[in-house]
Symmetry: C2
Subunit: 659 residues, 2 copies
């Protein structure tokens, strides 16, 4: 199923040329981990379907009209834009078409590790050739500003995604270079960033600005790491440090283009997290994806510079998000109005925006928080977002997409072939295609296992090549067998996450039980020893079916209960249940059974139980009556949330009535 | 508290000059009933506050900007419009400013019966003078089309409310003539209707059209009744009969003005109930107020012409509304998108649109269904809408208004001084000011008491003047004492509604018990006898506190319970309760107590009980956990729904969690 990279394979040790402090724990690179089982299936869907679909959609002319005639598009999208109906005042989702390309290139790059695809690689090469040709002699590169709004570059960082697009092209360039060894786009983007660094920065005569949509910060960290050029890290840090400082750049920029700073569609700079300097922030606010990307960049800079002031802000923000504003699915950002946060504990289910990109962004942020070392506080939440609110955004076959990920549906919320704001498809694509890098992270003399699942990882530790193989049916079963095969005996610490959802866990090394209480801190068991070829670690995570209840501050979940098993949040869908879903009550005492159903949805464990259903007898004469409805017993069957809307359309519900 | 009309009082027997079949039961006229007690307080608020406020708001220039700077108005409103920013293509709420005047005149007229107000009467006279001056020599009258879009009259009946405005001015003219004897506006409107009848109608060369917003149909019936001119009745019948016929007038009209009929903002003619001929309709659809006004007009025509085909359609529509689409408050039309109906059993609480005008419209329709004779099927629902979802739209002091009447609020839904679409304030004003006419209806040898409450009615029956006085603390108490004082003994049937909510009722005449089973049909007890001066009827309606449950098809009320007592639906407000409202559960077994609180909200009966509240202990570390929340006992206090948001802002909830 996996294949070698199709061109010169990227070597891990080329990555770290910078003289700055390294990550304490660095994620393994995508090609270092072969995933099978659950994530293997997801990654195969991306490699065989999604990656090609992303390319096709990005090049299709007037694609939205063609694909979905009922949803007229506000504009057109064709390669490198044609000036058709746009004016100098236009602000449209099409401004960030370059970012779709960046993520598409990134998805394709990661997918090449999994499946050779010379045809797709050739197409991507051609796209990169076009970008090379488009680049101005001074290094500037933006298909929108060059084709549609020439002369307006660097006049509206607040709204127009100019640096955001650069960021995604950088990420694409890094990934494509790593996967193929081809550095044309990497060189293009280095030239562009060198140009950016002349325009924006702290020096007199430079614009003291940053992007309204964060993204370039984390991308510059990647660029610095892959090129060893500290100047890119410095630029990332500048954007982080400068954000929200006074005088406010977006005020000055608006006045410079003759606009009133108050004439901002989203009213408050909380929308783009520039309301106050980032180190003073303690509430997650505004556009959810922007927030996640900002915090990801802050986490990178905190790690790279050992900056505890950033780290303290990130911990406050993490607390705020996870105790007040996170859906049980790991989704976030309840409101369509600002694509983001509203007020504490406001988590509507049916109207949840919970954009796929936002959950993906939470995975990015959480994984970066693990750079400081294993801590289940972050990894548990990363797993929650991965298995639920992010991959719900991609159909099982990799061909259809959700933008919003509600927790309740009457049946009319269905997957799109594409979206007029197509940020989510390539975002979930690149995340799934690079899933291996979220499994493990590596320090000088330690390796941490954050995620479980059938997979093989290869890495060097203290100069010794090591292979680590997990045999597991996770997430369907909590038994994990780990086989270590160092080429020579080598001492290091193996950190194993003990998920918070596991009621009890048993650990054994070569058959000898290990007392978890003795070795566990921050939710990770640490086993330090000299590992030899064939050493066996056995971890048995009890995977109980749980009823979960929300903090009573969450009005929308009052009197409700959700089902989970292991990392998976469950939902009920109409097709598996006889009653209308809102009529169901789940009695607290009803035993819930898990059943592996290999034939269902690519093979899932369902949960089922006996529930009560409100009966409709005797309501002929009116809508309201003094007698409560009679109830009947019925069978309730739940499936993992991520797999919903992969069959016929129908109702879906996560939060059941608690009885 | 009440006063004689300020000019020549209108005489009831002038009303009926038409030779057509009369109403079996005709409502008493406003001046024939003096209301005291509950409705007296409401009517006083309208007479002393609302009526003057309506006038002031209608004449204020740029009023919305002045009143509520946070909600910018799309246009300006000054007397008879000034062409400021409007174009020939403008479609705006300001097009129906004449209708606001019509309802304001009507409210003022009814209020003059209650309280002399020479100052207001003088102002209304001046407005009428302006309309007289505005009228074109051919009879045409529309401040919008004459001032803002000259030359475009009769080109867009679908969207532009031209006949709707005429209808409201007709209703205002009739009421003002009846209250003051002044017939200037009545004559103006007769001339306008005579002109309308030349433009629209079945003859070749006429436009075969009708209004997109129904209203003129019921207004023409009033005009026919007050003038005795059958031609106005015929025009009303034409508009009813023609609606929804093919070829569709709105298609033809659109093409005639060079527009594509498909380019209709609301997509479907269900929006204005013209999708099929009215006699074929069996589902309430589209804009809720339009629907109610159409059905009201249909009911009038059904009665006037003895048209059973219309009656059959109305019964189907009544069934559909009351069994599938009516809030427990008597509110209707859940969606803001079409200001109307969505799908069966879709009754969201927090986002309920439930426009005040729609509940008022339901009162209009229900009262007209009683023209065929006493039937609690209609009168019970009229009472429900009157006491709950309609008067909720007016603050207790008559000065502030709701447009939407949700059944749940987080505290941010508060009353307006005015609204950019100001249809509701004068609508609730005119309904309350004319409340007496909904209490009673009269046939040749019968009188029906539909509503109870402290009041005195005067009417002639078989040529004998009769006074009927109710002594009652209704709706706070179900005991009703009725004293009849005919000037001479006279035989007639007294119909008394036995409300469906009353678990049992006792009836006595001059102290002699009457077996209700023997005399009750269609929910009305009928007592036929020769009534003499001083005859006493005693009706004791048991007024139990009820827990009410919704049909399980209503997803938004699943697992919920509402409290009622007599005609009143109750709600809980934050100010009376310690817990957040969504945390409360009302146990099924908890006894609920009623308490008269004279000091509260002008004097209301509250309901209170011991409830359970979800406690917030132990949720520091996250949003979700396997243990359900602990519960604590708390006191729950509910107030009548109509009285909510008359104190400090805060949460409100009708449907409590059922425990």
């Amino acid at each position: 199923m996996t294949a070698s990279p199709s061109a010169q394979p990227f070597k891990a040790n080329e990555l770290e040329k910078t003289g700055k402090p390294k990550l304490a724990f660095r994620p393994l690179l995508v090609p270092q981990v072969d995933v099978h089982g659950f994530w293997g299936d997801r990654a195969d869907a991306v490699a065989s379907a999604t990656a090609g679909i992303l390319y096709d959609r990005c090049v299709e002319a007037r694609m939205l009209e063609q694909i979905d005639p009922d949803r007229p598009s506000p504009g057109v999208v064709i390669p490198f834009h044609v000036s058709d109906g746009f004016t100098a005042r236009t602000v449209t989702t099409q401004m960030f078409w370059d970012s779709d390309w960046g993520k598409t290139i990134e998805t394709a790059a990661y997918s090449l590790y999994r499946r050779k695809n010379p045809e797709l690689e050739k197409k991507i090469d051609a796209v990169i050739d076009m970008y090379e040709k488009l680049q101005r002699p001074d290094g500037y590169l933006s298909s929108w500003y060059q084709r549609i709004q020439p002369g307006l570059r660097w006049t509206n960082l607040r709204d127009c995604h100019e640096l955001y697009c650069a960021g995604h092209l950088i990420e694409g360039a890094v990934a494509y270079y790593q996967a193929t060894g081809k550095r044309k786009l990497l060189d293009v983007m280095c030239r562009f960033v060198d140009h950016i660094a002349t325009v924006l920065g702290p020096q007199p005569g430079q614009k003291h600005g940053y992007c309204g949509h964060e993204e370039i910060e984390l991308a510059l960290v990647k660029l610095a790491r892959v090129t060893g050029e500290q100047k890119y890290m410095e630029l990332a840090k500048y954007f982080i440090d400068q954000r929200g400082q006074q005088p406010h750049y977006f005020d000055e920029e608006a006045r410079a283009r003759g606009a009133d700073p108050k004439d901002f569609h989203f009213k408050t700079y909380e929308y783009n997290q520039s309301h106050i300097p980032v180190r003073e922030q303690d509430k997650v606010v505004g556009h959810a994806v922007r927030a996640m990307y900002l915090y990801s960049g802050m986490a990178d800079i905190a790690t790279e510079y050992g900056d505890d002031t950033l780290r303290a802000a990130l911990d406050r923000l993490w607390d705020d998000l996870t105790t007040k504003s996170l859906y049980i699915t790991g989704g976030l950002g309840p409101s369509a109005d600002n694509e983001g946060f509203t007020s504490d504990y406001d988590l509507p289910n049916e109207s949840a925006y919970a954009e796929t990109c936002a959950a993906v962004g939470l995975v990015f942020w959480a994984s970066r928080m693990l750079g400081m070392g294993p801590n289940a506080r972050y990894a548990d939440m990363m797993e929650r977002a991965l298995y639920n609110g992010s991959i719900s955004g991609l159909s099982l076959d990799g061909s259809l997409f959700f933008y919003e990920n509600p927790l309740e549906s009457r049946g009319a919320h269905n997957r799109w072939k594409w979206h007029r704001c197509p940020c989510c498809p390539p975002n979930i694509g690149r995340m799934v295609a690079s899933i291996g890098s979220y499994f493990y992270s590596l320090a000088d003399d330690a390796v941490a296992v954050h995620l479980y699942g059938d997979s093989t990882a290869r890495f060097d530790i203290s100069g010794v090549p090591v292979s680590l193989t997990q045999a597991s049916r996770y997430p369907w079963d909590g038994a994990v067998g780990i086989t270590l095969e160092p080429q020579a005996p080598v001492e290091f610490t193996l950190h194993l996450r003990i998920p918070d959802w596991s009621a009890s866990a048993e650990l054994a090394v070569n058959g000898d039980p290990v007392n978890l209480d003795d070795v566990t801190s921050d939710g990770y068991a640490a086993i330090r020893r000299t590992w030899k070829k064939g050493d066996q670690v056995r971890l048995d995570l009890e995977m109980p079916i749980e009823r979960l209840y929300a903090n009573p501050q969450v009005r929308q979940d009052a009197g409700r209960v959700a089902l989970s098993r292991g990392p998976l949040i469950y939902c009920v869908e109409a097709t598996d249940n006889e009653s209308q879903l809102h009529r169901l009550t789940l009695p607290r005492t009803a035993p819930v059974e898990a059943q592996l159903r290999p034939e269902l949805l690519g093979g899932v464990v369902t949960l089922s139980t006996t529930a009560q259903a409100d009966a409709g007898d005797g309501w002929q004469s009116g809508l309201y009556r003094p007698e409560p409805p009679a109830t009947t017993q019925t069978r309730l069957t739940a499936i993992p949330y991520f797999a919903w809307d992969n069959r016929e359309s129908g109702e879906m519900l996560v939060w059941l009535r608690d009885g």
